[in-house]
């Protein structure tokens, strides 16, 4: 693989029925970047969680807004940017409940951000509520992945 940067963008209406399309989109690019199957699955998961949050929380489940996903890769990493123009939030104020607390409280929330943080190498939010909220995530390629793979 050369070290040229490549950029892909997908914009879809803010409806959960489009999550599968978003996952397929990032999975294909992850494969193209040379990621292992396991890392591709993690990338899909992080993007799915982030976009589901945009749909549910930033847009309050209004299916007529837009979710934008931008994927860039080079020989070292895959970078994902997810953009919305919704409500925004303060990520530092989100409680980290553990599983037992969630189960006791009959709550299902709070797992998404934890999953995102544990599968990605970098996670940063830039929030300007109602104008432009952006989540930037990076997954670094393992040395073996960034080398050209032998053809079989």
């Amino acid at each position: 693989m050369d070290s040229m940067e490549r950029t892909f963008q997908l914009h879809v209406p803010s409806s959960t029925e489009n999550l599968a399309m978003i996952r397929d989109f990032v999975a294909k690019i992850g494969e193209r970047a040379g990621m292992s199957e396991g890392d591709v699955k993690k990338l899909e998961l992080a993007v799915d969680e982030a976009c589901a949050n945009v749909i549910e929380h930033a847009y309050g489940s209004d299916g007529t807004r837009e979710v934008r996903v931008k994927v860039t890769f080079d020989s070292e990493m895959v970078q994902i940017e997810i953009m919305d123009t919704g409500r925004g939030f303060d990520p530092s104020k989100v409680e980290e409940n553990n599983l037992e607390q969630l189960a006791r409280g009959r709550k299902s929330g709070g797992l998404g951000l934890r999953l995102i943080r544990s599968v990605m190498d970098e996670v940063q939010y830039q929030i300007v509520p109602g104008q432009k909220n952006e989540l930037r995530m990076v997954k670094r390629l393992k040395p073996a992945e960034s080398k050209p793979k032998p053809k079989d």
Partner: protein, 122 residues
């Protein structure tokens, strides 16, 4: 893409077996929730969720397990999970599901586990 998730229902003695197929994400989780809710309301509290055909799960799917488990156990039932593929198991693991749920290699083992430990201490 409309048929990319389904929940099948069957019985093994007094146990309800829910068989998941396809992907369980924020779009399809409500379908799964509805089925578990129906089992719960009908008092069928010994539930096995067979994940052999489950190709993907996100927190929305995991949330369905989370939001029922305490109530089901409080009523002397349990939700046991079986036949989880490697990819799905990895997601379970990241969130610590194995310490909260009985996860068995196959359905027979899950049925057996109900005989040994009807309710698991979460």
């Amino acid at each position: 893409m409309a048929n990319s998730f389904s929940v099948g229902r069957s019985r093994e003695g007094d146990i309800s077996v829910l068989t998941l197929q396809g992907y369980l994400d924020a779009h399809t989780a409500p379908q799964f929730e509805k089925v578990i809710q129906e089992e719960y309301e009908a008092g069928r509290l010994r539930i096995i969720v067979n994940c052999a055909g489950l190709t993907y799960i996100s927190s929305a799917g995991l949330g369905v397990f989370m939001s029922f488990i305490e109530d089901v156990r409080a009523a002397q039932g349990d939700i046991k999970i079986c036949s989880v593929t490697e990819t799905v198991y990895q997601v379970f693991e990241i969130l610590g599901f194995p310490s909260l749920f009985d996860i068995l290699p196959d359905q027979a083992a899950a049925v057996q586990r109900f005989a040994e430990a009807p309710v698991r201490e979460g």
